[in-house]
């Protein structure tokens, strides 16, 4: 298929997934902020979404203080914030529009109407319970997009590049959520395994829809080590790094070309490390270090995809 088309489909899916994950992060932060706690700690919470998306500096350049409402507006509706939900919806639509011939009309309609509707959302939505309704809506749009993709698209190369975008973006986001929460909740390594705030960790699980899954898998109280294990190494948890890379690696094997050897190798390497990894080893070397290294390698894989598929230089 056309390299440009493959690239547009991949980024269309990444932006839809990013939009959903930003909504998840804001949703869980908002819920946590409703818990009884000091006002100072409540504001502290709102650094997390900015850290996760790497937008703390642009934010502090615009606002003097980190407050709930400002962060929500900045991350949901700010057209100048490239990772805001609004910007993601717009970028997804622009990518889809560039390849309208390669997406089904149902897929296009989901992406287009998401963009049309989000433009009517105003800041006032974040003053009351409207925020939660909005986050649910964003998640539903993303679910709808994936459902329509799987339910209507031909399983050809277009489909594979679309899905590749979904899983790589999801792996990236899960790693970020876990990393930042880990830092907020565990200021020092000695606290690992110690008394932790049940609500905080359950909120992390809820942010990736893994609370019920945790109960089923472990039938145990919530501990940070098990939460981390579920979100990194557990193969059947759909938002875990392992599950995402398993999907991605399968796709790589299908779309491989004479130009893509290195991309496939890197994906396989990442997948194998997750398949054979052990959580105690990860913790003894440091979860933060592990996740940082994972994100770096995921970024390198992204560059390699660019070289292998989107900007192939023909000999």
């Amino acid at each position: 298929m056309l390299s440009r088309t493959a690239s547009n489909l991949y980024w269309m899916a990444r932006y839809m997934e990013r939009m959903e994950n930003t909504a998840r992060i804001l949703d869980v932060t908002y819920r946590m902020s409703l818990m009884p706690q000091s006002a100072q700690f409540a504001d502290q919470e709102w650094f997390a979404p900015l850290n996760i998306t790497g937008t703390l500096y642009p934010f502090t350049g615009r606002y003097s203080q980190v407050h709930a409402r400002e962060v929500m507006v900045f991350m949901a509706l700010d057209p100048n914030n490239p990772s805001s939900i609004l910007s993601c919806a717009k970028a997804a639509r622009e990518n889809a529009r560039a390849v309208r011939g390669s997406v089904t009309s149902e897929m296009w309609e989901v992406i287009n109407s998401t963009w049309l509707e989000i433009q009517h959302v105003t800041e006032e939505r974040f003053s009351n319970d409207g925020a939660l309704v909005f986050f649910d809506w964003v998640k539903e749009r993303s679910h709808l997009f994936r459902g329509v993709t799987v339910g209507t698209a031909l399983k050809d190369e277009s489909f594979h590049f679309n899905r590749l975008g979904t899983f790589l973006e999801r792996a990236d986001n899960t790693a970020r959520i876990l990393d930042v929460k880990y830092h907020v909740l565990l200021p020092s390594l000695q606290d690992v395994g110690g008394a932790v705030d049940y609500y905080q960790w359950s909120a992390v699980l809820r942010s990736v829809s893994a609370f019920d899954a945790y109960r089923k898998v472990y039938r145990d109280v919530i501990t940070p080590v098990k939460v981390a294990e579920l979100l990194t190494l557990h193969h059947s948890m759909p938002r875990s790094l392992h599950a995402c890379m398993a999907e991605a690696y399968e796709i790589f094997k299908t779309i491989s070309t004479p130009y893509s050897g290195e991309a496939v190798r890197r994906a396989g390497e990442l997948y194998a490390a997750l398949q054979f990894g052990r959580i105690d080893v990860i913790f003894s070397n440091g979860l933060h270090e592990y996740l940082t290294a994972f994100l770096d390698r995921l970024g390198e894989l992204g560059s390699e995809i660019n070289r292998s598929f989107f900007n192939v230089s023909y000999a």
Binding site: G101, N112, P258
Partner: protein
């Protein structure tokens, strides 16, 4: 040498009342509109309102929009859609179709001729300088043989009706005519809104247009190519007709490419794919000649493919439409199309040409200046309804300003009598009201000349307006060819 100039002298054509497509002068309904009239009178007005609103929402959601030049960058608008169809009885359409085929054949023959033997010029039927000095004439095409001798693979021939069975060709669009996606989407919408009307009568289908177009494009592949790869070339998503480019590529199941997706190696066109370079044989291009290849035409074009025209001239790739078709749809050549039909086909034209005054001719200029308030004056190279003077609806001041423009460069203008375009009812705030319409059938030329029945009906939404162009506030309607 005397050259036949098909103009009529004296009073321009005029009609006391406009021909209404649906109603007779006594208020009765024409036979072929009766099922529709029954449906309207049998449907509660608020239900019709609901349907009209549903149509708007659906068009927006599907993204059937066009970009408007001169407005905020990236602005997209819906082309207003009117639910009342333009209905033509099938026997009448069959006559129109014959005329369209004849016209398309003659125009293709003309294009081949002027880039080869120039017999029509040597026979003195058309003044040589009108052709060879024309800005749209491409010397690059002289002596080049294109597959099947076809230049205008897709022609949008705009028709208006002045009276019963009296159709005029307003203009021939032979470069990159657009609008066919609206024809198809309008039909889809109507079948969704009023399926009962389709069940009640025999309305000719148009849905196979994309298949017909693909078949047509494949039939003009370069010699020796067995299974040609066809692509649609678009200027990109900010072009006003981008929706249509994407739509057609999708409907034909072929790639939609931009200039940067293509490259030339050894005079062969390739597209960049994830699996390496893939050869391209036929390009349905929706980019104007000027922007096609920075090496051949405008060097500042970012939209084109360097080296494309060279590969084309060597017969390694087919461009549809061909380079240099603009000379045949130029308004200064238009008056000679009937002469082309007689010259190449030995037939009398079946469709009328609108009588045209060529202001480079002294006599025509004098007549036009004396009758500005009755005439429509157009720029020879203009399109899209821009830069026109519509005499009857103009002010004294506008006429004076235009008079000056004409006097500065008379050869840049033509004038035509104000045709009384027929009207067709549309839904307005309260009930229905007549508005002027025209019809653009899409004529495909390749191995054969083909078309789907009907075309795109455009409607001037403002009361009394004669301008139907979408860029000027026109709307569209579905067109039904009905067996009676």
């Amino acid at each position: 040498m005397a050259v036949a100039i098909p103009v009529i002298r004296g009073r321009p054509m005029s009609f006391d009342s406009y021909y209404n497509e649906m109603y007779l002068a006594d208020g009765g309904v024409r036979t072929h509109y009766r099922p529709l009239a029954d449906w309207i009178s049998g449907t509660p007005p608020d239900r019709i309102d609901q349907m009209r609103q549903a149509a708007q929402v659906l068009f927006h959601r599907v993204g059937i929009t066009f970009a408007v030049y001169g407005e905020e960058a990236g602005a997209e608008r819906l082309i207003p859609f009117d639910m009342l169809p333009h209905i033509i009885p099938a026997p009448e359409w069959r006559d129109i179709a014959k005329g369209l085929r004849q016209r398309a054949k003659a125009l293709n023959a003309f294009l081949h001729d002027i880039y080869h033997e120039r017999e029509i010029l040597r026979a003195g039927k058309i003044p040589t300088d009108r052709v060879l000095q024309n800005k749209q004439y491409r010397p690059e095409m002289v002596g080049i043989d294109v597959p099947g001798g076809i230049y205008a693979h897709v022609a949008g021939i705009d028709l208006v009706r002045a009276g019963a069975g009296e159709y005029y060709v307003l203009e021939d669009n032979l470069r990159t005519p657009s609008g066919v996606s609206y024809m198809l989407e309008n039909r889809k919408m109507m079948m969704r809104l009023v399926p009962e009307l389709f069940a009640r009568q025999s309305i000719a289908p148009v849905e196979h247009y994309p298949d017909m177009l693909l078949d047509n494009l494949r039939s003009v592949a370069p010699n020796g190519v067995e299974n040609p790869t066809v692509v649609v070339l678009t200027p990109g998503q900010y072009n006003s007709a981008y929706f249509e480019h994407a739509f057609l590529a999708q409907q034909m199941g072929i790639e939609l490419v931009e200039g940067a997706d293509l490259f030339i190696k050894d005079d062969t066109v390739y597209m960049r794919t994830t699996a390496g370079p893939q050869r391209v044989d036929v390009i349905y291009r929706r980019i104007d000649d000027d922007f096609l290849d920075p090496q051949a035409f405008r060097p500042d074009s970012m939209l084109g493919v360097p080296g494309l025209v060279n590969a084309y001239r060597k017969g390694r790739v087919t461009l549809a439409n061909a380079v240099g078709t603009g000379v045949a749809d130029d308004k200064s050549i238009y008056p000679y199309v009937p002469e082309m039909i007689r010259f190449y086909l030995g037939e009398e034209p079946l469709l009328n040409n609108v009588p045209t005054y060529q202001l480079r001719l002294k006599e025509d200029l004098a007549y036009t200046l004396a009758h500005l308030e009755e005439l429509v004056v157009k720029e020879v190279h203009g399109s899209g309804g821009y830069g026109m003077l519509i005499g009857p609806s103009s002010t004294e001041r506008e006429r004076e300003a235009y008079r000056q423009r004409i006097l500065d460069a008379p050869d840049k203008f033509i004038a035509q009598p104000t045709l009384s375009l027929s009207t067709c009812p549309i839904f307005v705030e309260k009930g229905i009201a007549p508005r002027h319409i025209d019809l653009r059938p899409f004529v495909l030329s390749g191995r054969d000349v083909m078309m789907v029945p009907g075309g795109l009906t455009r409607v001037a939404l403002r009361e009394g307006s004669l301008v139907v162009n979408s860029s000027q506030g026109g709307g569209t309607k579905d067109t039904w060819i009905v067996e009676t």
